[in-house]
């Protein structure tokens, strides 16, 4: 997917002005935040469950190469083909080659964020193959001129029912519907023949199981089964970090995924798919492929960002993020939005291509609190800021400001008189009301808020006066 993260500021401004988006985001945050809060209380001991799952993810990542090899052996033994791609573009090429090899003309897709990294749909289209998104949200986006998703779990959270009604009426050329079950039924009517005539199914993979060579998929709509079992070829595209050693590990992580994401105890559908159709079996693909994408992931292994690879893509961080909740996912400009996206995007597409993302955070810490994998997202964002400084990527004015601040803060003999002067000057500017409505050097502040001015004299002055009076 084309990286647009350098346009963060402009896009964020547009999103703030979008009343419909604001209303939709409000609904999402209220429902899912409350849902998660309720769902984690269903577990006897949420903290212990979380610590256990984290330990299991850490164990997988500590020897990722070993588990990937074990996965490859197990999957191959069950008749699947395991392929590796260094870049998302390489992965797209592999999927196109697979499609060509099997004479595929139509591909039905289940939801996959990695396929967004790969820009898979446009690669397939360029090769004359028709991709069809079958997740309802992704389908809506595809028929709306291939709009990108704005949330990793709820891709159309930015859209209202009315917008979808209009879109369906226009694209399906049917009378406009306003009842959600009816709209869903209409989408199903359009998708059903596609499922039945599909030559190849593509799905993501929530987890890969090294012991058994399986892929685990969590979905809510049931379209996944139609993509993975019905067509003769099934291709799984997912990241190399998704490997778990055992089914026990999967069970541990599964207790947290849907609870953290939507507040469900488990998703409506949960599949563990292993191998191709065996002799005597009546369903399942004849050919199964795994395309495992690196796409920058191995660069995080063994370094200060390794913890980010624990991410299980639940979206809790964005559901609870004050910034995401105001601007939605599109402002972030690539595949992954919110706090996890603000760490992943610069890590995968280059720090210099996403300068705003690590800065556009209040570091409030709520993402770290709710993350089922306890990924220290604020610390990682701060480390990315550090890298921007180290690489000289901050604007000159900011660098000069920091140098001046440090110089003064380290020199009490200079600091104290300067604070005294600042106190008096600001107080004077604030006048009787004690505030300034426009401060030319601090427009980012004063365009939106009054500048509250000092009450003066400084604490140190008052303290010295008190001490002298004793």
């Amino acid at each position: 997917m084309h990286v647009q993260s350098m346009h963060f500021k402009a896009r964020a401004g547009q999103k703030l002005a979008d009343a419909r988006l604001q209303a939709n985001l409000k609904k999402l945050s209220t429902n899912w935040v409350a849902g998660r809060a309720r769902a984690i209380t269903e577990l006897d001991d949420f903290e212990a469950t979380r610590d256990d799952a984290i330990a299991r993810r850490n164990r997988a990542l500590a020897n990722l190469d070993v588990w990937i090899e074990r996965f490859e052996r197990a999957a191959t033994a069950r008749g699947a083909t395991v392929l590796f791609a260094e870049t998302p573009a390489d992965a797209s090429k592999l999927v196109v080659e697979i499609a060509k090899k099997h004479g595929v003309r139509k591909v039905t897709k289940s939801k996959s964020m990695v396929s967004e990294e790969m820009a898979l749909n446009s690669a397939l289209e360029a090769a004359g193959i028709q991709p069809i998104e079958t997740d309802l949200g992704e389908y809506i986006l595809q028929i709306n001129d291939n709009e990108p998703p704005s949330h990793i779990v709820a891709p159309v959270v930015h859209k209202s029912k009315d917008e979808v009604s209009d879109l369906f009426a226009r694209v399906h050329k049917r009378p406009r519907l306003s009842d959600i079950p009816q709209m869903t039924r209409e989408a199903r009517e359009f998708l059903r023949p596609q499922f039945l005539s599909s030559d190849m199914g593509v799905s993501g993979g929530n987890f890969l199981i090294a012991d058994t060579g399986s892929v685990a998929l969590f979905t809510n709509e049931g379209n996944e089964g139609m993509c993975t079992i019905l067509p003769p070829v099934h291709v799984v595209v997912t990241g190399i970090e998704k490997v778990l050693p055992t089914l026990d590990d999967l069970a541990a992580v599964a207790r947290l995924l849907a609870r953290s994401a939507t507040g469900q105890s488990i998703s409506n559908y949960f599949s563990i798919l292993t191998g191709t159709r065996a002799a005597g079996e009546s369903d399942g693909p004849q050919h199964t492929y795994f395309v495992l994408v690196d796409g920058g992931r191995s660069g995080l292994l063994g370094g200060e960002f390794q913890e980010m690879l624990r991410c299980i893509r639940c979206g809790a961080c964005m559901n609870h993020c004050p910034v995401y909740q105001k601007i939605g996912g599109h402002a972030y400009g690539w595949v992954y939005p919110g706090p996890m996206g603000s760490v992943l995007t610069p890590s995968y597409v280059g720090i210099e291509n996403a300068l705003d993302l690590p800065q556009a955070a209040t570091l409030c810490g709520e993402c770290h609190v709710v993350c089922p994998m306890k990924i220290p997202l604020p610390d990682l964002l701060r480390k990315l800021r550090e890298k921007q400084v180290d690489r000289g990527l901050r604007p000159l004015s900011e660098r000069a400001g920091m140098i001046a601040w440090r110089f003064v803060a380290a020199r009490p003999a200079l600091y104290r008189p300067m604070v005294r002067v600042a106190s008096r000057m600001l107080k004077l500017l604030g006048g009787k009301r004690g505030r300034i409505s426009r401060l030319p050097l601090a427009r980012g502040w004063s365009d939106y808020r009054d500048v509250i001015t000092p009450t003066g004299p400084t604490f140190k002055e008052r303290w010295l006066r008190r001490r002298a009076g004793r």
Partner: protein
């Protein structure tokens, strides 16, 4: 008990009376308060901007100025969090300083947790009569676990009537330089906070951090609300407001 009072740069400059209220609370609890006048800033602006070296320099300075006290008290969850939570991480590769910093961090407290958890005060030195709502500031809440302490202390005075606002734990949108760099996003976040404050029925929002204070008060006034008061918890507890 000899307390080193870390004023914080924003209290020193913007709201010195908060520092005086904090001192009043500490002295009435039987503490001897000293204020090293060489102190400046905890280094958080540099730390959050990615200038770790600057943060390290100011952490060393803090160590030199406060190491000899029994306790250090800070009227801010944000600066307190910087010291207790982040200072040790700055000296990962320097075990000597790290040990000293960790020992000092263990004796460094945010004001309300010091009064509630360490000296365990059971009465307040002044009077305050009013309806208030409390905003949990992010760093104090999530880095230091400050949540019950300010509420329990306010409950010592039955004339402080607390009505909780919706989403009291949600960020106010300040975030240091974030508020300047992304003023529009920040103000959308603080708008929600201000709505919740106004809907709570409290005539006064009480909080424990200057950053949130300047942000919330600045937005309230810009929206034309000149009556909702914004007070630091020290002012309310000391009866100085």
């Amino acid at each position: 008990m000899k307390i080193g009072f870390f004023i914080t740069c924003l209290v020193d400059l913007m709201r010195p009376e908060i520092g005086m209220s904090a001192v009043k609370l500490l002295e009435s609890a039987g503490c001897t308060v000293e204020v090293p006048l060489q102190q400046t800033c905890c280094g958080q602006p540099g730390f959050n901007a990615g200038d770790t070296e600057a943060a390290r320099e100011l952490a060393r300075k803090f160590l030199a100025e406060f190491e000899h006290f029994d306790y250090v008290v800070v009227p801010s969850g944000s600066c307190g969090g910087m010291i207790r939570h982040h200072y040790p991480t700055l000296f990962r590769d320097d075990p000597d300083i790290r040990n000293r910093i960790e020992a000092l961090c263990a004796r460094t407290w945010e004001l309300t947790s010091f009064l509630h958890d360490v000296v365990k005060i059971d009465r307040l030195p002044g009077e305050f009569d009013g309806d208030v709502t409390y905003h949990d500031s992010c760093s104090g809440l999530r880095e230091l676990g400050v949540q019950v302490q300010p509420r329990a202390l306010m409950a010592l005075n039955p004339k402080i009537r607390l009505s909780e606002m919706r989403d009291a734990r949600a960020c106010c949108g300040f975030g240091g330089s974030f508020a300047m760099k992304y003023g529009n996003v920040s103000s959308a976040i603080v708008d929600e906070k201000v709505d919740n404050i106004q809907a709570s029925g409290g005539r006064c929002v009480v909080l424990g951090d200057l950053g949130c204070m300047l942000n919330i008060e600045g937005r309230l006034r810009r929206r034309g609300d000149d009556t909702t008061r914004v007070l630091h918890v020290a002012q309310v507890l000391a009866g100085d407001a």
